[in-house]
Symmetry: C2
């Protein structure tokens, strides 16, 4: 079983994904994973370890690398005389945003019977669309802030009061997000959000609200990370968040009460089981009056939130991957049907 | 633009899909669509029109047909000397159940930039998992019956009283569904459901409840089908439902009040817009005290519910297909990041 980091993809978070992969290369030193890059033309490339630097991608130099074909059981490249197959892989889906976090690439890998650490289709949809995240949280009894969804065609906000926050409905990494303190700034914020998506989600903006992040996954049991209180201000600062995708090392554990810790872990478990099995996710929470509110689910967090775990590599190698049920054809009905004869 | 019917897939509904495709062949007479079969080994085959009969598949004879490769922009086959590309397709995703209705095949076709009539990823997940369908209906204000979800590990029913109905959580076409009138029959019904899925959904069974079905899609406007009251008893009878997948001709319009009709269309519109754009779906409703309750969403109904439309072929050709936003790389951030250099 060989680890392979799949990154890139055709989304606004393409560059973030490259930074994430470069970071994981450092974190996984000694494991010598494969690096598979998906470019904007939807071509896969095998990137050698020394090609894992920013300029290799921004310059287009990566196009000189071996082009890979996705086939049943793995990836292969074809030269004039030789053909090399990479099989028995354990892919780490590190494509942030569209293609990666919306279920596309997972579907393609699963169809080709390739083991993948990734949110599955349901998990993808429930975290990728922020409206569905709210719906999901409500249905499992996890608190969320009030919200409304508006479309490009109908830019009217009906119930959320100022100050508020405007986010594209289907994007992560703070891209296209604005805080709007008064009505006069609303139009511009909507223009920004609708530059990225046809729908936007509006939530109240709570100045100075406490934020706590927690990551986790399931191996043979639930694995919960260090709880971190990220530096303030980072929430809206894309450049700062960007740097976050290059994080390694160890996060400082937040100073919180036992009760809050318990609430967060309980909320995480409700969210994670069963839909998120197979993935390593980070949940970002707000704390309001000592109660936990889900802000968002990062189904493929930057650099896989490695810095929140003491034993990240060990956990990564042991994440439980649900398998698709194998079904064989019986053709016992079809021959009975007159119409089909 | 060439219509192509994609059918088969690796699910319990594989045979149903074949019947559905054979039926559409008749309905689409004169259009000469392509027929592309996906077998249990995940191989695509081009089936000639005269091969569209049950025995061609059950006998395995289809394996003598041309094997197709899915590539950017279409499907191709490779002979020793010639290579033929089928491009500019308008695929009709007619794969019922897993692979088709869970978003897998749509993701693969979209990735390869092929136009497809199909539920998109969100629509797939919201209709394929019956628990998420309930959650979705609740969130948009469409009534559903009470329910609970139980897992293979915890077979306890907490709130739904007898008589009740047990369904596998992620399957259509009445497969694995049982009505349970008293406790002594529960274990067997659960065994049946868990034979198909790890989770089951439990709902009250209402003897003699009125059922009404309505299909629809979006072309340049919402298109609503005839409302039909299906024959009673069919709900639990797989063989009867099976025959339904071979239906053509014209359905009889149900005898219902103006108000009920209005309620159904309103519920359909709430369900369909915006998540289901790109697909033609059938919603099955229960009528209780003159109010409409959503029973289930068939995101790829048998033979595409052609018998519910007066102008099915015209509508099929004009279904509006949402396009993925095209994004180009800018690489404006990545070179600023010290870590990535």
């Amino acid at each position: 079983m060989k680890l392979a980091i799949l990154f890139g993809g055709t989304s606004y978070e393409h560059e973030i994904s490259i930074v994430s992969a470069i970071t994981l290369k450092k974190v996984l030193e000694g494991e010598t994973p494969l690096f598979i890059f998906l470019d904007f033309k939807h071509e896969f490339y095998l990137i050698p370890s020394n090609g894992m630097i920013a300029s290799h991608f921004s310059s287009g130099e990566y196009k000189k690398e071996k082009k890979l074909n996705l086939i049943h059981g793995g990836f292969e490249y074809k030269g004039l005389f030789l053909k090399k197959l990479f099989a028995d892989l354990r892919i780490v889906n590190l494509i942030h945003g569209a293609t990666g976090e919306d279920g596309t690439i997972f579907s393609m890998l699963e169809f080709n019977n390739i083991k993948t650490i990734s949110p599955r289709r349901e998990a993808s949809i429930l975290s990728y669309n922020k409206g569905l995240t709210k719906m999901y949280a409500n249905s499992i009894g996890v608190k969320v802030l009030d919200y409304e969804i508006i479309s490009r065609a109908d830019r009217k906000i009906k119930k959320i009061a100022y100050p508020l926050i405007v986010k594209p409905l289907n994007l992560g990494s703070s891209i296209g997000v604005s805080v709007v303190k008064e009505h006069k700034d609303l139009e511009y914020a909507l223009d920004v959000a609708f530059g990225y998506d046809n729908e936007a989600i509006i939530e109240p903006f709570i100045e100075g609200v406490r934020e706590l992040n927690l990551a986790g996954t399931f191996t043979n049991r639930l694995q919960i990370s260090t709880i971190e209180e990220p530096k303030k201000g980072a929430i809206l600062d894309f450049d700062a968040k960007y740097l976050d995708f290059g994080r390694e090392g160890s996060a400082k554990s937040a100073d919180i009460s036992k009760d809050l810790r318990k609430q967060m872990i309980e909320a995480f478990e409700k969210i994670y089981i069963p839909h998120f099995k197979g993935s390593l996710i980070r949940c970002d929470f707000f704390i309001i009056n000592d109660e936990v509110y889900l802000n968002e689910i990062n189904s493929i967090p930057g650099s896989l939130a490695n810095y929140l775990f003491d034993n990240f590599v060990e956990i990564l190698k042991n994440i439980y991957l649900p398998e698709m049920k194998k079904i064989s054809p019986s053709y016992k009905y079809i021959n009975k049907i007159q119409k089909a004869k």
